[in-house]
Each structure stands twice: as C-alpha cells, then as structure tokens.
Symmetry: C2
C-alpha cells in the first residue's frame, strides 16, 4: 500500500494550549497518523520571542518568528495566538493560501467570523474551531453535524469556568463575591485583570459563536446582551438556595418568534436562577456545560473542562485529525450550512421569568399596590412570599416570582416599583430559567 | 448556481423511530436540504405489512414490502428494522451496492460490526450509527471525530433508560425492584419481557460498540462481562445512599495494562456504587449519560434522552445529513480508523473497588478473621464500619470498603468469606466506581 505523504502542520502560538498541542503532536505521532491516514508533521511554531520560557520542552529548531513563511509551507495552520491581530491577518493568509485552519480563538470568531468563513469558502478551505467554545467539550461538531437534522430551540451554556468557580464557591462555602474572586485569582482560575470573565465579555463571545452556529445565522458580538456577576451578592445566592435554586451565569442562544410573528434569534449572557434539579445546577467548580434543547432530540447536555492547556489541546487535535483526514480524502470539504440570516432580536423581545425581592413598608395595602404595578405593566405574578421583619423598622420582605413576560415589560416594572413610596428598596432582581 | 440532484433515501422499517424519521424528512425537507446542500428525497419505506397501523400518518404510496428493489434505487439506506435478520442481509446488500447506510441497530453492530465495516470499506461506502447508542445523545461522532486526537482511558455509560428508571425509582421513592419494574412496565419504559434490559443484554451490546470505537479495536459481544439489576435490593440502595452513593448500572469500556505489561481493553456491564457528587449520580429517570475519561481532555459527559421515537430520529437525521453532504462533495469519505486490535481482557483482569456487607457473629476476633481472609487474597481494606445488631441474635454488620484490587482476587475473597464460620451471611457485594 502506498503511503500518503505527511500532512504539514504549522502552529502559530506556543502558550498554554499551543505548547501542549506541539507536545502531543510530537509524542503521539504514530497514533495520530493511524487515525488520520497520514503522518502529521509539525513543520514549525511561530512565536513572538523564540527564547521565551515555555510550559513544555520543545525542540528549539521548530521555533520561528516568521509566521508568514511558515504558513506558506503548510497544509494545515493551527492558530493559538488569541486576540484579533495579528491572528486575523495570519488566519486570512492561511485560508487564502488554501490551507485549512484550526483555531481556538473565540474573540476572533465572534468579531470576524463571517469574513473568515467567506475567505475559507472562496478557496474551498475549512475553518475548524472546536476549541473556541467550552475548551475540551465537543460542542461545535455535535451542533454542526450530529444535530444537523434537528431544529435547535435553545442553548444555555456555563461557558466561563472562572465565573462558575466563583458562583459555586459563593453557593457551597458561603464566600462573598470578593472573597471568591480572590480565591479564584490565587488558584489561577482568574486572571490579574478579571474583567473579561466577571463582566461576561468572554461568555458573550461564546454566545455569539454558539448562536451563529445553532441557528445558521450571523449573530454579531454587539448584538449579545451582557450582564456580569459583579453585582451578585451572597444574600442572593443564599436566598436562591433556600428557594431551591442555584445562581449560574449562562450564555443563552434562543430561537424566538416576536409578537408580529417574525422569526429571529436572541443571544444573551446574565446570571440567572436555575432549579436545583436542573442538570446545569450540578456543574461545579471551573467546569463548563452546554445544555441544548432541540425540537426532536429533547434536552441534551455536554459537560467537561472548559479551559486548561492540555484539555483544550484535545479539542485542537480532534480538529487537526479531521482536517488531515480531509486532506487524505481530497475534495472541497463540508461547507458551512446555508446561512438562514434570521434577525437578531434585542433583549427586550425575550420572554423570561423574574424573581424580584423587595423591602416594603409593612402596612395594609402594600401588596395590592405592588401587584397593581406588575399588572399595569402586563407582568403576571406566579408566587409571592412575604416575610415580616423582626426588627422595629416596620418593613417586610416580598419575594415575587413572575410568569413568563417580555424583558422590556419586566424592566419597566422594576423601574415603576422603584418609584413607589411603599417600596423601601429592591434588593434583588434575577431571571429564572430552566424551571 | 446549478443545483445538486436530490439524494435518494430508502427507509427500512417504520416503527417508532422509523415513522418519525419519515415524518421529519417530509415536514422539514427544505431545512434539511439547505443543511445538506441537496434535497433529501424519501423514495420509499420498506415494511413487512403495508397495511399495519403506524404511529404517524404517512403517504400510503411510499410503502412497499420489496426492500431489495428499494435499496437498489437509493443513495442512502436507513435501516431501522432492528434485530439481526433480515437487517444484516439488507444492510450488506445496501453497502455492496455502494449506498451509504445509516442504522440504529445496536444488536446488529455488536454482533456483526466487523463484517459490516469491511463491506463498507470495500466499496468506499459509509456506515453511520449514532442512533445505536444512547438514542439522541451525540456520542459516536464525538468519540470518532472530536476525540480523534486524544487517548480515551475509560467510558462509563448509563446507556439503558429502563434500568436507570428502575434504580432511580428505588433510590428516590424507596420502591422495591419488583414494584419499580411494574411501574416501568406500566409507563411503557419496560417491555412486556424486560429481560434484555434488566439482565443487561441491551447495555452489553452498547458496551461492545463503545469499546470497539473508543479503542479502535474489535470487541465482540461475547467478551463483554454482564450482570443485570434483578438482584439489586432496596436495602442495598438505601445503604448506598446512607454511605453517600447511588446504585447505577453502568456499561464500562476501559483501556488496561495487565500484570505482564500487555495493553488491552475490557468491556463490562454491572450495577455499581457511584458517589453522589459524581456527574453520573444525578442522571435521573429514563435519561442516559455517557461519561468519558480521556488522557488530555479529562472528564467529559454527554447527557440526554436514550430512547424514544422522535428523540432517536434526531440522531438518525444527523447521520442522514452527514451522509448526504458526503454525496454532494463526492470522494470516498472517512474510513474507520486503523484497528488497533488490542486484546480484550476477561473481567478477572480488571482492577476495581468492592463494598462488601456481611452479617457476622458478634464475638471477639471476628474482625481479625475477616481481615485475614482479605489479606490472604491480596485485597487491601480501605474502610470498615461495624454495627452491632440491636436484637438478641448476637450478630453484627460489617461494611468493608476495599482498595483497588483484581476482580479475580475479589471474587475469591467473597467465596472464602462465605466459607468462614463467623460469617452468617454476605448481604451485599457491589463495585464502587468514580470515587
């Protein structure tokens, strides 16, 4: 049997994921070759500084600072630089040269996805990105292939390990947000500047990618509604648990029909109450999970490590073997599905349930006033729980659970409640999902 | 743009899954066409009796009893007859005619897999079988593609919904096995003859398929060690919960190295104790889940509906779209990976932990006698808990947790304990996994 020539792999970036990809390529070469049908030859690793300290010992002769020349000699380019530039320019160069590209770059995909997919399609190259969402968890391929015959209704993902770690620590050990963040930083789960995680920017990128893929439509990052977890208090987490919920920050992508009957999609990131019995509620620590609701398949969940060098390298290598198999077979490969180009709805269109906790004056008629405000805004109440404060300040606590209502109506309701004299303070407003 | 001709799909079988596949193909034709790049034309449905009552209303003119003629005019054949014959003959005919085959037939794959894959490879046809394991859950493609660059260490699957439903009912509502089985039958989760489920035959077929795929080796059904749940008692389930465990029946596929350093695999099905904190422990009702441990990716779990007509149809349609995409692209498709042909080890080689519960005489020296039996067989004790019975019969209960030991040593230990005079009765022997 004539052996297929080696498939030439160029690696861009040798950070925590890139160095593990290089190591596994070198150490497991024979095994990967038998899976791919051809040898995978690592022809070089482009880095900014060839002398920098790396996590893994790799042959010095592989390193180069000349990414452009490296790309020109490659069948498959693996981009693990991260960020927009120079990653964007290099990925475009690789695709235009006819190379397949494997990337884990969520920022790049969320902001320049359409441009990259168009460049790939023009020359019949492929762009693989399993590692860009939820690290080691296979979610891109199941959405693209396994569920290709189904219609996805909603995706809810715990796609940021740092924030899940923080919320889990608050829930399980009663830590405040600040203490939990400090622990996360100490353990290396959070970066020195945690903004991208705790403000939901990272999750929003993943929401854009998931929504675009699941609904065969282009969802720009700017259209993703985003709320972080910096305002989540330990009191909210405690009260949630008492009521049978867990607070999780979720990236949600949903197919919707608005009141005019127009079909569209919504992508959003916010902390929400998840019932304890929901599979997402038992995702602990820095783990990730993506919960998928499909019309025929019903509820599915994909669970695993959402980050980590070697874990994410597994996803990169899976894509690499797929790309290499395609080289051995030849042919133009699988194009992206036709884009449905559904409209992306603003957050106000989404229907959700709220849990609103209020301090109110403990006086006759207060409940009726509050209920009146909700009714006036078209928000229907499902549950009310009233606790009279033991102190002498004559206030009571109301916990109101609403039925499904439009986000815009709910937001207006909260503003109106704030303006009522009988309302001392609104202590917590959280969405309830999965119940 | 010239449109690709329709891809011709022949359906064999119109049971609960087949009729849903036909319905979705007819109802969602345009959407599926845009995903596949070509129309999917259902050219006919082969059944034994064209006049039989069906779950779904389908055009009468599609039905035929002549499966062989139907196959000859098809690009893709979907086999949902189940069982060995005539499914085996028809699938072979389809593959030999050059058609791709999509099947959900676990019995056929577990017993004749190598023959079918060889037939497919000979003509460059593809055999897809996502629906054969864990219904709607994408597990075959993630193992075949997403984890192609990783090395799978172990798979533990809740792959039979009926038995998970029964064990869950015993755990959550304190039902006996008999009562839980009766409820499962009443609700349609168990068949009139529940043997295939409760004795683990169904799970064993899935274990063989998962082990073959995960370890790129051929694991015959006969090599799968199998124990069902008929002997699981409510007392065992209660005691497990008290000790922080849940009893689950698991299909396990594992890569092992025996004492001679020989690499091999093991496939087995048995009820086992799973720690409450393990993701598999919170898989309730008739749901399925497959827990995968990979060298680089770490722990992954895939969760969802393991059965059901429309749910399983989702997996079939995903395969169908993949097969159709391949027709549009042309080319020989992705061959199975090179088979590693690792030896399949017998159950005795496997190292596991046991929890042994004994009634013993409440007399001095008993613990030392019992401990001596374990030590003699090379089984090391991790925990012992002794409870003295309140009654007048002068017996005590010992619950022994062992360290990892060879299954054969553990089995010999149990036999030896049974022969000790101080041992009144061995009330429970269960394996402990995932701890």
């Amino acid at each position: 049997m004539i052996e297929y020539r080696n498939v030439r792999v160029a690696l861009l970036g040798a950070g925590s994921v890139g160095s593990q990809v290089a190591r596994l390529l070198l150490e497991h070469g024979d095994e990967l070759a038998s899976r791919a049908g051809a040898g995978l030859e690592l022809v070089g690793i482009a880095v900014r500084d060839v002398d920098a300290q790396r996590d893994v010992d790799l042959p010095a002769e592989l390193f180069t600072t000349d990414a452009e020349s490296l790309i020109l000699g490659a069948d498959i380019v693996v981009e693990l630089i991260g960020g927009i530039e120079p990653a964007r320019t290099l990925v475009l160069q690789a695709l235009q040269s006819g190379a397949d590209v494997v990337t884990g770059n969520k920022a790049l995909l969320a902001t320049h996805g359409p441009e990259l997919f168009a460049a790939a399609e023009q020359v019949g190259a492929q762009l693989y990105y399993e590692a860009a969402v939820a690290g080691a968890i296979p979610i891109i391929r199941p959405l693209h292939d396994s569920l290709a015959g189904d219609r996805i209704v909603r995706i809810m993902g715990i796609v940021n390990g740092t924030t899940n770690f923080i919320l889990d620590l608050m829930d399980r050990e009663g830590a405040t947000f600040e203490d939990a963040l400090a622990t996360a930083t100490e353990l290396g789960y959070a970066e020195a500047d945690p903004t991208a995680d705790v403000e939901g920017y990272d999750a929003a990128q993943k929401a854009a990618i998931l929504a675009s893929l699941a609904f065969h439509t282009s969802v720009p990052l700017a259209a993703v509604h985003r709320e972080g977890i910096t305002s989540v208090t330990i009191e909210q987490v405690r009260a949630a648990r008492k009521a049978g919920y867990v607070v999780k920050i979720l990236a949600t992508a949903e197919r919707l029909t608005d009141e005019d009957g127009t079909e569209g999609v919504s992508a959003r990131v916010y902390p929400a109450l998840v019932p304890e019995s929901h599979p997402l509620a038992s995702v602990h620590g820095a783990k990730n999970a993506v919960f998928v609701e499909a019309e025929a398949a019903g509820d599915l969940m994909f669970y695993g490590a959402g980050a980590g060098g070697v874990e994410t390298a597994s996803a990169v290598l899976g894509d690499l073997v797929s790309a290499a198999r395609r080289h051995v077979i030849g042919g133009p490969g699988v194009a992206e599905s036709t884009q449905g180009a559904l409209p992306v709805f603003p957050i106000g269109t989404v229907r959700t349930r709220y849990q609103i906790t209020l301090h109110v004056a403990d006086a006759p008629g207060v409940l009726s006033t509050v209920a009146g405000v909700l009714a006036k805004h078209g928000v229907s109440v499902e549950t009310v729980e009233q606790t009279v404060a033991s102190g002498a300040d004559a206030t009571a606590t109301l916990v109101i659970g609403t039925h499904l209502a439009r986000e815009s109506d709910l937001a207006n309701t909260v503003v109106a409640l704030r303006n009522e004299d009988v309302v001392v303070e609104i202590t917590s407003v959280l969405r309830v999902v999965g119940a």
